[in-house]
């Protein structure tokens, strides 16, 4: 806690940027009564759960897509001469508590929405409510690591990786049925962000899924999380190997 005022400014800032994104969904839904077959309250549930998962992932893995900066500052070399895995050092080197603001917002929205949307609180719903943000965090976290791994090749590639990390998160906050079919398939079976909120919500709301996105997929976030982590681990390891092979 070295920069106290900066911490508070950043926390408030990340809180409000979260609100802004929520307002976006709100504006969309006040002009069209339903979004992808969900009403406002139901879409808010998707938003809340996705946002909670995303902000938890950002809290832990948020700086792993900052590889070019670490390379340029020579921090990566300092990390490499310490007896700890690179990724672990990257996570701990710059644990940004200010991102808590975002996570807190995610939690608040999720809780408010729970009183608003009419859910049948049975064992399955409660299980999904608890596990969805956690698996969501795992999936988004894997996307961050994947982005980091790719940046070993494309220096200044954060523009490119942002497109699927932040773009993916945006897609994850929306009802998956609102996405065009190719995007829907891409964001489910390649970067499974729809699984971080929308698909489990379908189960909770007792709705069938749209084409290519059956609701029973909502039981499978662990499988999708394992798949993204496998992908992320492979890319990350190859990225590190690329770095030690090609030099900085």
């Amino acid at each position: 806690m070295t920069y106290r005022s900066s911490f508070w400014i950043n926390t408030v800032n990340s809180f409000f940027s979260g609100i802004l994104e929520f307002v976006e969904t709100y504006v969309l839904l006040t002009n069209t009564p339903t979004l992808g077959g969900l009403n406002f309250a139901q879409a808010s549930l998707v938003f809340g759960l996705a946002n909670l998962g995303w902000s938890l992932a950002d809290l832990v893995f948020g700086q792993s897509d900052n590889i070019p900066r670490y390379i340029r500052e020579g921090k990566l070399e300092a990390f490499l001469v310490r007896p700890m895995p690179l990724l672990a050092q990257m996570i701990t080197s710059d644990f940004q508590l200010r991102r808590l603001g975002r996570a807190f917002l995610g939690l608040v929205i999720a809780v408010i929405v729970l009183f608003w949307v009419h859910l049948d609180f049975n064992v399955a719903t409660i299980y999904l409510l608890i596990t969805t943000p956690l698996y969501g965090a795992a999936i988004y976290g894997a996307l961050f690591v994947l982005a980091g791994g790719l940046q070993f090749w494309i220096v200044d590639g954060s523009e490119f990786t942002n497109s699927f990390v932040y773009g993916g998160s945006y897609a994850g906050h929306l009802p998956g049925s609102a996405l065009l079919l190719p995007l829907r398939v891409f964001f489910t079976f390649v970067f499974p962000v729809t699984v971080t909120a929308y698909v489990p919500c379908l189960i909770m709301l007792g709705m069938p899924g749209p084409a290519w996105l059956p609701a029973w997929l909502g039981w499978l976030p662990p499988v999708f999380a394992a798949w993204t982590w496998l992908l992320a681990a492979v890319v990350w390891r190859r990225g590190v190997r690329h770095y030690t092979g090609a030099g900085g």
């Binding site: 007896p83 090609a246 030099g247």
Partner: protein
Amino acid sequence: MTDSIIELDNLRRSFVVRAKKSGLRRARREVHAVDGITASVSTGEAVGYIGANGAGKSTTIKMLTGILVPSSGRVRTCGYEPVPQRRTLAREIGVVFGQRSQLWWDLPLRESFDILAAIHRLPAEAAGPRIDQLIDGLQLEAFLSTPVRQLSLGERMRGEVAAALVHRPRLLILDEPTIGLDMISKERLRQFLIAERAEEGTTLLLTTHDMSDIERLCDRVLVVDHGKLAYDGTLPGLARRVALQRVLVVDLAEPQPPVQVPSADNIASELNGARQSFAFAPDTTTAAMVLAEVSALAEVRDLTLTEPAIEDIVRTLYHRAS
């Protein structure tokens, strides 16, 4: 396992550099940063690794520490293969890159040490006394609670050296540790390193641009040039092959005809003799002796002492060889 802590066998490393040419065409050029170096360093030695900028020093060090994979050849550090066994190796070596920081920019120095002790999984009863010992040896008490970003370069560098030594490494690698430091900070650092080596028997590999670092700290010198080893031996041996002369430049109160003294050569006289330069060999005389002799003949207003430049040493090495 043999007695040698570093083994390099025909070590090579090349980089592909893509230079932008006119339009879309790009020239692809291979640069041999390290071009077949064979050497070994025994446990307990202190070795100076010198060469001009871009001679391949840092690349060698990156290969020794597991940051870079060699293109070909073999490297063993502390008996390990650096890249595949990077984490095991990291427990046995300490590295200071003069231009990069190991410390946590926003944290007080003391906390950086505690974090490093935790990273190396040192038990508290071992870490505490060791850190105190380093704080004492490097005189760090005064700024222990200052965030690293507010330290002066000399203070930070002493902090860096302490950080690299927290886990009592067998091998200490210093890449340009004295760059940019003033004379007092340099000397403090050297004195500490001498004491530390006497106590712990740490092997030292040091790259530097300052020949006094080598004189004070190292028993052996490796000179690298264009990726190849140009000299491997003792410093007196190097001095026999090239002139490691220092130059004392004095400003005189009054312009004088060239002053001649017994222990040094008058090599230049500028400003009508108001500034004169004396070259001397540091192994036969001292700067003080030369100054005393000059002062006896003329009034000295100001003086500077220059070291032989690494570039000049390398150049003379080649002239002798050819």
